[in-house]
Symmetry: none
Subunit: 195 residues, 4 copies
DNA sequence: GATGAATGAGTGTTCATTCAT
DNA sequence: CATGAATGAACACTCATTCAT
């Protein structure tokens, strides 16, 4: 007879929100944002259309929140406490983490990649992502310099392209492409180089 | 592929069909397939809605034809007459051609890349593309073997990822990213390796 | 949850109900019935959506009850005990009361006026209102006859239209329109006539 | 086989637009703006939903265009060429025209009246209406002055309220209320006064 | 070949109403 | 008594597609 407590409501809310966001991420990743309908998303989540709008202002707001949440989740993987200097060990760990993150968040990476390919959509992820990326890029550049590469800038380009290329190839065919093998190839390649 | 005269090219260019396809490609590349409306495409092409349906059965048929045409146009760049064996010179030429094709067909490559990121859409490009790609991949594998790489398969993975990664990075920011510099980095990298 | 006495319950009921009705009247008067949402009304009243449905069967029932209550409140202003004959003094008092009622219930009058402008909505106010109005109209007609007007029916029409016209003009611009001045004009007009 | 000429298209367009606007005006006047659905309007007009949006950007744009058109239509009734001075004859003619306009545009007047009763909606009709009204008001004030009324401003208030009151009463019950009789009452009233 | 008026199924979104707690 | 999560029908609006001319 008593109304639910505020905590009970809060729990229901976060659970349901999560439910909807997961369904939406899958749908968005599979079909793309515009080809995904609210109808399909709510069916997938097993909720009514109206409920989605209790939690999200609009389809676009839903997309943004998904992008933000996944983004936060991803950066947790990378050690935020280290001193800003990559040892050789940490460099290989970085590569491994990179592919682990991709493998465990294929849907988000697909959605993210498609989004990034369209001009003028960067506001969806925002400055935060760029700043964090910059941080890692400068750490990597530093690493290549310390490892006495002939042309560290060039090495950074090669490295970035390599990681991005494998990621994209994997995303396009996650079931078939042997990510582990590719990962090993990259690590081997650098081990040979820096031995 | 018999060479066409200048007049023939001109005629093709000014055909209404061509007009529509170009407008559609721009629209698709900028907004994505689902966010592009027939209305905007015909407005962009300066023709009526009805005319589009004189030439194309449906929106999807229009997409397929664009993909096919662009695909054909692209493969023209690569020497179809050679003997199936890459010399060192031809390897560097291959890289250059690759980036030239991307630079001159950014719109198509963006559309193509987004399309390829979605599962189960390969029928849009078809077997032909895969076969031709296979052909080049085996030529490249052969090339790496002849150049006595320790692990040619690994080398092929690295090479493919590298090219794909740079392409994707360029597509996302064609105005800013210095494709030429990246191209030089890749070529330098292999020249050093194979010197 | 300490048990409440019957009186306490009763008090809560009337308070909360009053709260909701006031919020609803404001909302209805500002936005119109159809543009007002239950959500906004309950927010305005500071109660939950469920509570509204404890007190009112439906949105329409809420409207009807508001109309009825305001209607009752209004007729209290006019002496219900007098003998059915208007003296000159009472005639001027009637006019004053009329405008006083309007001024103190602008929201209701706006809602009422809009409602009355739509065909086939008279059931919202019901017979009661019409009967009471008839009573006053016949009293007024009688009054004009006693004052030896040339054409009492005509005089009644003029009088009714005058009152209604000023009311409507006031409702459309309550902040700006000088109701008192208009009231004086009407009273002056009749004083001159009947002096 | 030839496409229609521009004139043919233009004719179709204006005819259909008129059709939709008439249906919408009826619907709006009967149900009010918010209670009228696009579905009902198009059903009433006998066209598809899509067609309405070929002609009007939105439901609100449709309302605005109706208001504007009716407004233009109405002011045609009043002689725009006269010298700005009302003779006695012209004064009675003005009253007659007023009621004629109302009788022949009941739907619009109902819609207009309801709209005017809501605060902050004046932008729907715009300055134009107010300016034209002002013009007539000053002409009328002038008229009352020339007719040596004791208090011309007061007389103007009475006159305006009278007209507005009758109009509103008529709109609420167009079938029943004898507008002609009311009109006669008003004219008689002023004839007696100014004889 | 070429036009754009016309269609209607489908989209994102709102909202009165219900109900477990 | 009181809450707000949940529903689904209805809403305004879009868009690929058709067709008379």
């Amino acid at each position: 007879m008593c109304p639910r407590t505020e905590e009970q409501f809060e729990e229901i809310r976060t659970t349901k929100k999560e439910l909807i966001m997961n369904a939406a991420l899958e749908e968005f990743a599979e079909q793309g944002y515009h080809a995904s309908s609210i109808n399909k998303i709510t069916k997938r989540a097993g909720v009514s259309k109206g409920l989605l709008y209790n939690y999200f202002e609009s389809k676009e707001a839903l997309l943004k929140e998904i992008m933000k949440q996944a983004h936060d989740k991803i950066w947790v993987y990378f050690d935020p406490n280290h001193d800003g200097v990559l040892t050789n060990e940490e460099f290989y760990y970085f590569i491994e983490q990179n592919f682990k993150v991709v493998k465990e968040n294929v849907n988000f990476w697909r959605l993210f990649s498609v989004t990034m390919l369209k001009p003028n959509v960067s506001q969806l992820v925002g400055k935060d992502f760029e700043e964090k990326s910059e941080h890692y890029l400068s750490m990597l550049l530093d690493f290549f310099k310390r490892n006495k590469c002939d042309n560290p800038e060039e090495e950074l380009i090669i490295f970035s392209a390599l990681i991005k290329g494998i990621t994209i190839m994997f995303i396009g065919n996650p079931e078939i492409l042997p990510l582990k093998k590719y990962e090993t190839s990259v690590i081997n390649y650098y081990k040979k180089k820096f031995k």
